[in-house]
Symmetry: C2
């Protein structure tokens, strides 16, 4: 076959793989939205079979032959062209997959399923010792995975991190996170000692779920989520999943006595959804149509949730509508009040309930601990105390129990080491992108106050979405903002917002 | 491999095929419940790919090797044992599939997709000439299919009929349908000339959809539909689909100004669902865990919809509840009134809106016409006039347009020749089974009047559901009722019910 034909074969192969992957994603979406409970065993068998089909397609010998030919092709020489990026990244993925012995893949799969079950039981029993053996096993297996896929001189941890955040360097993150940490601790201190405090009891009244549901649709649609190419549903642990080039499903959660859950959950997932809907549909299932990294994905959700959704301008625009939607609760609420309530800061123990300022401190603790676990500097015997010590030092509260401490997250039980930092990366990137968009558009807040979200979305489409996976996260940030990633924009943005809410100097 | 091992290989192979088939069914369920509109093209590609995987698994050469070995096995010698039926029926399916040339399979698939699109446009335009070329193509292709799979001396039409109703003989159906037709025409005549007529305007008031939705769940649960192993959702064209051994999805439709649509639609689909939930789950994806025929499937839906759901006893039991559920509309309704309204007879042009008495006449017309189309005795040029003539003769009304006549059903455009008679077969079987159950249980109506549906369900589980596909429809009816299928029980049941409603002698 000539190069064009070989490339077409590669493309067809990957496209067909994506058909099966999307089917597995549909099966999982259905499982988390409305599948009858009795169907769980068969569904697990089904998803495992589909994932097996995908794995064997991703390691098929024909891929290796085609790629060996295509790396010689002139058309593939630009690593950031559609063709060049496809050949380069599919090759990288293929090599990584074939580096993992089948035995290890199966051991990880089995440990992941068991680990989550054990974790769940341990958390319910508030008993870390039930979980520790599973955690030891998982650390051992993930260390093996990291070592197997590490490139020259890389630590196992960095190799795992790169599974979620290709190209990220641990040393660089350590620096950036350190400056972020000291600035955040200082900012939170100022907030806590400010004489002005925020009363958010209004948000704890009874909010009818039906009205919240309609309101969530209004918000998602307002910022540009396309309901012709997506849906918004309800689930217990919100997420966003993509079932095809024009089928993005976002899921949110409604709490009757805490309104922010659905508002910011919806804006967050809709932010993920806007990214997925903005990826080049023609390249669905191939690198030019895929997301760049988890950090970039999270930057899109955080940008809409926080930089837009928690801005004063946003509530200037939406105040009349939210008053009309919840007349029994919010008829007399002012814009300042809404803005203040949605930006209340209060350090607490649980990551998923954290406010925007303390959230990153939760991540930084995990980032430090998981590096030490992976390198062997910290044993699982010492983990609960290390966790509690770090919380006390960094956040100022010591967890009274394992359930509220080291057992609170599912991630490690599922083998996700190197995953947590992508949350904070997302926050950092979101602020840096917003700053650049703000400059380029001559002020995003002015547009937001008028309910005009399209210019910002177009800026993101052009600078981030359109590139798929052709550039790394670092490259995307550099190209879009003209600067390497730093903590400054996030700190500045938080400081500005909280200065207004808490009357800081 | 020894016979046990070979059988296990066969079983594993079919089980894995069922995982993929169930995935395709999920994709179709999702498409008809809530898939975003923009996702249609990708979904079509996905389902086609999954169906292709299933087809290649169903025609895999290993199957032929295994089956050649297993037909010699002693354990497989009883054609109605689990093993014997599996070997026998998988072999039959395999031989049939391999008789069809790939070219023909693809031509049919393509014509089916196009045909339905053309039919839809033609019906909207009320212009038969738009549809005629597609119909000609489809008749030609299906004739070829029928000829390819026909067994010795069989007509192409009977071979097609056997795709849906294995073992059914056209000559026998012609006889049974003829006696049914003359009896029905006579019965309808008596009803139309009866001095007592039924006023059902109460059912055309405004019925809130939310209340109808809850009421539908109540009814489905009451007759035994297991919501741990199934769901009830909403769609525009109700159906029942099975996504795994413990995952049966039924779908119904709500009309705000016509209450019977949701009540009898739900009972009908729940009847299908009870059959699916009663099939042996261990044998899911294999003949002992599969339904026997479309006629048997329809007998289960019709039994619950009509023999149970339209009985006087059913409304004796449910009258208090329906009055409470719709107090604004039905607070003062009597049992007799409910029973009469739900059994009103009025000949009309459209099959899907037909009452129970005239329904089978609609089928008989189609059965006659499609035999003639398939044999070549009737040309598509003459079809619209032949259709109108038959409606006038059999039902007493001449369609004023093609849309209300020959263009009303999707079936022929989708290549479904030989499918219509299974509807009437289902009606015949439902009445014959009900009669046998009634005798065996000492009166089903007495149980129904007390809201006790489990004895009847258990009788159906034992006599029909538990056997899966191990017996043909004829064999099942003979075993369950002690008699070959006849029109007598259906006619008797209709005559008894209408005698009460219309005061016939």
């Amino acid at each position: 076959m000539n190069n064009e034909q070989t490339f077409q074969s590669l493309r067809d192969h990957l496209r067909q793989t994506s058909l099966i992957e999307a089917t597995a994603a549909l099966a999982e979406w259905d499982e988390r939205t409305g599948m009858p409970r009795g169907a769980a065993d068969f569904r697990a068998e089904q998803v495992a079979h589909l994932r097996g089909l995908v794995h064997s397609r991703n390691t098929a010998p024909c891929l290796s032959e085609w790629l060996d030919q295509l790396v010689q092709w002139d058309e593939a020489s630009d690593p950031h062209s559609d063709i060049g990026a496809t050949v380069r990244l599919v090759r990288k993925d293929f090599e990584k997959q074939t580096k993992l012995p089948q035995r290890l893949v199966e051991a990880v799969a089995s440990a992941t399923v068991r680990g989550q079950g054990v974790w769940d039981a341990a958390r319910k029993a508030d008993d870390y010792s039930l979980f520790q053996p599973a955690l030891d096993e998982m650390i051992g297996l993930q260390r093996e995975v990291g070592q197997a896929i590490a490139e020259d001189g890389q630590s196992a941890y960095e190799a795992l991190l790169n599974e979620y955040e290709p190209g990220a360097r641990v040393a660089y993150l350590v620096d950036v996170f350190a400056s972020l940490r000291s600035e955040l601790v200082e900012l939170i201190g100022e907030i806590q000692t400010s004489p002005r405090q925020v009363d958010d009891r209004l948000l704890k009244l009874a909010y009818p779920i039906d009205a919240q549901r309609k309101w969530s649709h209004v918000l998602a649609e307002a910022i540009g989520f396309d309901f012709q190419r997506g849906r918004l549903d309800e689930t217990s642990h919100p997420f966003c999943t993509t079932l095809g080039p024009s089928d993005c499903r976002i899921l949110t959660r409604y709490e009757s006595n805490w309104l922010p859950t659905s508002i910011f959950g919806t804006l967050h997932e809709a932010g993920h959804g806007l990214y997925e809907q903005g990826l080049p549909a023609d390249w669905y299932g191939l690198p030019p149509g895929a997301y760049a990294s988890l950090g970039i994905h999270e930057s899109q959700s955080r940008l809409w949730e926080n930089l837009v959704g928690r801005s004063h301008a946003f509530w200037q625009h939406f105040a009349p509508q939210i008053r009309d939607t919840f007349p029994g609760q919010l008829a007399d609420v002012s814009v300042d009040q809404l803005h203040a309530m949605f930006n209340r800061v209060e350090p607490s123990l649980i990551r998923v309930e954290a406010d925007e300022a303390t959230y990153n401190l939760h991540i930084i603790v995990r980032f430090e601990l998981e590096q030490a676990l992976m390198s062997g500097d910290l044993s699982t015997d010492d983990l609960p105390v290390a966790w509690a010590d770090r919380y006390e030092q960094v956040i100022g509260i010591r967890p009274p129990s394992a359930a509220d401490g080291v057992l609170q997250d599912v991630h490690w039980s599922a083998g996700l080491f190197g995953y947590f930092p992508t949350y904070t990366l997302g926050n950092l990137v979101s602020a840096q992108l917003f700053e650049a968009a703000d400059e380029s558009l001559g002020g995003v807040d002015q547009l937001t106050a008028k309910g005009e979200f399209e210019p910002l979305l177009t800026w993101l489409r052009t600078n981030i979405h359109a590139h798929g996976r052709k550039y790394s996260a670092d490259e995307l940030v550099q190209r879009a903002t003209g600067k390497p990633l730093s903590a400054r924009p996030l700190i500045k943005s938080l400081r500005d917002r909280y200065a207004r809410v808490y009357d800081l100097s």
